[in-house]
């Protein structure tokens, strides 16, 4: 694919400024718009931020999962202790 491809706004006949955050219209153009959009993201530093955000989200998700696991284990332990208490 030609990396220097320009997307033109057909209504204005002028090159279309690709927004780094993309748009539905751009997505609907298909393959031809993918590389210019990704290139733009890199140029604007948007891609870097995106990866940072994803990493953070992954970390947060892991943390949430860990907390959930701990909570479940704590609840299980508490139940076991209560059962023991009743037996005693």
């Amino acid at each position: 694919m030609d990396e220097d491809i320009k997307i033109v706004d057909a209504t204005q006949s002028v090159p279309f400024e690709i927004p780094p955050e993309g748009s539905l219209g751009l997505l609907a153009l298909g393959a031809v718009a993918m590389k210019p959009w990704r290139k733009k993201r890199i140029e604007c530093g948007y891609e870097e931020k995106l990866i940072e955000r994803v990493k953070k989200e992954v970390e947060e998700a892991k943390q949430r999962q860990q907390e959930k696991k701990e909570k479940m284990e704590a609840a299980k332990l508490k139940k076991e202790q209560e059962t023991k208490g009743q037996d005693g």
Binding site: M1, P19, E21, G22, S23, L24, G25, L27, A28, L29, G30, A31, V32, M34, L50, I51, V54, K55, E57, V58
Partner: protein, 848 residues
């Protein structure tokens, strides 16, 4: 004719969503296609499960031939369950046939198409678009996803990861996204994931169209279906039980995804160019209105209950009609129509037909016995290919998330057995769709014996109903009652259907009216009620019932047809024709509705159009004697076409096996009275009046002299075709098997029969002693038993048993039962009037 064909599949797209969007100018591209081409309701198949349906679309064949039987299949090598693969397809898809003919073909995302087949173009499988890991991790493309393999890297880069999408993409679909609490509501993320998958498929398709030569291109998108399953419950109008805050944030999701598809379509049309024939279609619809189910059954493929029976079809191209609607299209017609577009013959073994009405220049499709036996490289997989288990696992996960399949449990063996049973269930539904009820019942009986599942039993009941197996129906219904615990609303409806099978329309009516309390929201209930009213000639009640059904579901073809009949019988011919047209517009393969249309047109003195409609009846159901006979009359008397009249007359005489109605029983059991009733009702009876009325039968004997020679001569039976004739029970055994018989078997207390016979014979002594020869009674009983046994072993016989005393006590009910049994609109009032209670002179109770 265009040499390029672009086939675009939008899973679950429905005109009921699209039309309002087009009206508002929100789907301009599809709207322009509609104006430039033809549209149709595309009737789905049963079961309406996407992998089965898309394979039928691609092959023109039903699932019993193509072999794809559900979302998942047992993986015997790994002793597990896997998503259904292209390896399981047993027949050639359209792209295999085109590859064989050297037509450059590309396929993207078709379900199921993994592993990608080595066709003469590019194939990107349905495992392509799913992101398996987070954006910062490697996202390798699964082996077998892309053919040819050297394009893998390019296609890997064309995939869109959900994390790449921003609010700029999502805000048009979720304008109130700020109100979504994403920490406990995953729906926005789910929407992003599906949108990213759609974008990936679109990127792959557009790349191929931009970079490769092509003549045939097929693209499949599942995003509409997935959005509908996730968000249709929030689609306007707001339903009861949907909280305001959720309605506000998700109400635009469905229309948003449709609009995005319209945008993608614009790009595809640009790339296709004006000379390409473009087909946009869906495999089924998706209820967007009050027909959205409140809850889904807890069974595999339960979400399919949200599907509606009509998908969309829009086609434009050089030789395609403009701004026209065509009727009677089904999914099976797509592959044969594409073959014709390329000038190729259609396989006789294909279940679909060419949509000839779509073309401007009349086309005469050519035929070939089968494409399966045509040699040459078709790009199908070698039988020993196997799939990538990693990719299969990801696809499986998505099916579980969508609710189409249950999460596989730890017990692989059990899972495999369950999946195998389920695929047999789907196959049984395919047989039911083909009206091969015996095959379906055999499968259902097998799986029901392994697992008592409500859906298996309900399907089995439908088979027994179609095969008129009353005891089996009863036994299965009893089982359903035990299983059900009062949860399903159809029990009373089924009981009503059973009573109808037993020719007890009045009792059936009572049962269905009772069912109305629980199942009044079901259009089928009102259709069933309407049909009973029609039989009882309560046409206003019938009209009301069918109108109710249509208020619930305006796309119920049976309700439109029922309404047409009720209007026809009330001499409202134009309205009747309109309703019949609505019925055939929704469901073209509906000979009875075409027949009603023809009747209405005949009454409007539109003879040519009536003949056309009768011709359709004959084409769809060549055995319909009445339609042929009407055509003989129309061509003879109104259309001045003797040759055509002769042709139909000849067909009836040579090809159609007639039905003879036999009135039987012992002598003096009420057979003459029954003949009188039928004659009074308007039935055609065969009698020669040789035996005159006398004091024993003051209204005549209604006999036919030749019947007495039945043991030695059956040639005269041809005269009885489509008529009613009286034959005493002992002679039934001599009826030849070449005809079909409807037997009305009259029963009367044996002592009453004997007494009446003695009186007739003038044996006063016996009467005075009230003693009849026991030998005679036993002999008669034996003859009755023999006749009953003959009926049981004769598949060409249908029987209705009627008690003489019941005719006298409840003539109206009996007359209604007779109409039901004979499937004829007889004059019930006159039938009732023909019953003369004063002739009941030898009642035992009164003489004891």
């Amino acid at each position: 004719m265009g040499k390029k064909v672009l086939l675009i599949g939008w899973d679950a797209a429905d005109w009921k969503v699209i039309n309002p969007l087009m009206d508002e100018g929100l789907m301009p591209t599809l709207n322009s296609m509609v104006n430039e081409g033809i549209i149709a309701n595309l009737a789905t198949l049963d079961p309406p499960l996407s992998p089965i349906l898309w394979t039928s679309i691609a092959t023109g064949k039903l699932a019993d031939k193509h072999g794809i039987l559900g979302f998942v299949e047992p993986d015997t090598r790994n002793m597990s369950v896997r998503p259904v693969l292209s390896l399981s397809r047993k027949v050639k898809a359209i792209w295999n046939i085109l590859t064989q003919q050297g037509i450059k073909s590309h396929v993207v995302g078709w379900w199921p198409s993994h592993p990608a087949e080595p066709i003469n173009g590019v194939m990107v499988s349905n495992f392509y678009q799913r992101a398996a890991a987070s954006y910062d991790s490697p996202w390798p493309i699964a082996d077998g996803t892309v053919h040819p393999k050297d394009l893998e890297e390019i296609f890997a880069d064309l995939r869109v990861h959900p994390s790449e999408l921003t609010l700029a993409h999502l805000a048009p679909l979720f304008p109130n996204y700020q109100k979504i609490n994403q920490s406990n509501d995953p729906r926005l993320a789910q929407g992003a994931k599906i949108l990213a998958q759609a974008a990936s498929i679109h990127n792959a398709s557009t790349w191929i169209m931009e970079n490769k030569e092509w003549e045939f291109m097929a693209v499949y998108h599942d995003a509409i279906d997935h959005y509908c399953h996730a968000f249709m419950k929030f689609h306007p109008p707001q339903r009861n039980g949907i909280p305001d805050h959720l309605y506000e944030v998700y109400k635009d999701a469905v229309s948003g995804i449709y609009r995005f598809h319209d945008m993608m379509l614009e790009r595809l049309l640009q790339l296709a160019g004006p000379d390409t024939t473009v087909i946009v279609m869906s495999d089924h619809g998706f209820h967007p209105d009050h027909l959205r189910p409140n809850k889904l059954p807890k069974e595999p493929a339960g979400p399919a209950f949200e599907h509606s029976p009509y998908g969309i079809l829009c086609m434009k191209g050089d030789n395609i009609q403009k701004d026209e609607r065509i009727y009677g299209a089904t999914l099976l017609d797509i592959a044969p129509t594409i073959l014709t577009l390329f000038g190729l013959p259609v396989g006789r073994d294909m279940d679909g037909k060419v949509l000839v009405q779509a073309f401007t220049d009349p086309l005469q499709p050519t035929l070939i016995e089968s494409w399966e036996t045509v040699d040459g490289e078709s790009g199908m997989h070698a039988a020993d290919r196997r799939e990538d288990p990693w990719a299969a696992k990801e696809a499986m996960k998505q099916l579980v998330e969508l609710g189409y399949v249950e999460a596989p449990g730890p017990d692989n063996q059990k899972n495999m057995e369950k999946i195998t049973r389920e695929s047999k269930y789907y196959l049984s539904r395919v047989y039911m769709y083909k009206k091969e009820y015996d095959k379906a019942a055999a499968l259902l009986e097998e799986i029901s014996s392994e697992e008592a599942a409500l859906r298996y039993s309900l399907a089995l009941i439908r088979c027994y109903q179609a095969m008129r197996k009353v005891p089996e129906f009863r036994a299965t219904l009893d089982k359903v009652r035990q299983m059900d615990n009062g949860n399903i609303v159809q029990i009373d409806m089924l009981e009503g259907a059973l009573l109808l099978l037993e020719y007890k329309p009045r009792k059936a009516l009572e049962m269905l009216l009772k069912a109305e309390e629980k199942a009044g929201h079901m259009s089928q209930l009102h259709v069933q009620l309407g049909r009973i009213y029609l039989r009882s000639q309560r046409f206003e009640d019938a009209k009301r019932a069918f109108t109710k059904a249509l208020a619930i579901d305006p796309q119920d073809a049976n309700a439109h047809h029922g309404l047409a009949i009720s209007l026809l019988r009330q001499n409202q011919y134009e309205e009747a024709a309109e309703s019949a047209l609505n019925a055939v517009g929704l469901l073209y393969y509906y000979p009875a509705a075409h027949y009603t249309l023809a009747e209405a047109l005949m009454n409007m003195e539109e003879y040519e159009r009536a003949a056309e409609a009768f011709e359709v009846v004959c084409a769809l159901n060549p055995g319909n004697r009445k339609a042929h006979q009407w055509l003989v009359r129309l061509y003879d008397s109104h259309l001045n076409s003797e040759a055509k009249a002769r042709q139909h007359n000849q067909f009836v005489n040579e090809k159609i096996k007639g039905v003879i109605t036999i009135i039987t029983g012992l002598p003096r059991s009420g057979t003459s009275m029954m003949m009188q009733m039928l004659k009074a009702g308007g039935a055609d009876v065969l009698t020669d009046s040789i035996r005159q009325a006398d004091k024993n039968n003051p209204k005549g004997y209604w006999e036919y002299e030749k019947v007495k020679k039945l043991m030695t001569d059956t040639t005269w039976l041809q005269e009885a075709n489509e008529k009613s004739v009286k034959i005493i029970a002992p002679l039934l055994l001599h009826l030849p098997a070449k005809y079909d018989y409807k037997i009305i078997f009259m029963h009367r207390d044996m002592a009453e029969v004997l007494r009446s016979q003695q009186i007739m014979l003038g044996r006063k002594e016996a009467l005075e002693k009230k003693a009849f020869p026991i030998v005679l009674s036993e002999a008669f009983q034996k003859q009755m038993d023999q006749a009953t046994a003959w009926i049981k072993r004769s598949p060409n016989v249908n029987v209705l048993h009627i008690d003489y005393s019941e005719v006298l006590a409840q003539p109206q009910e009996i007359a209604e039962s007779l109409c039901e049994f004979l499937d004829a609109d007889l004059d019930i009032t006159k039938m009732v009037e023909a019953v003369d209670r004063s002739l009941y002179r030898n009642r035992i109770a009164e003489n004891v």
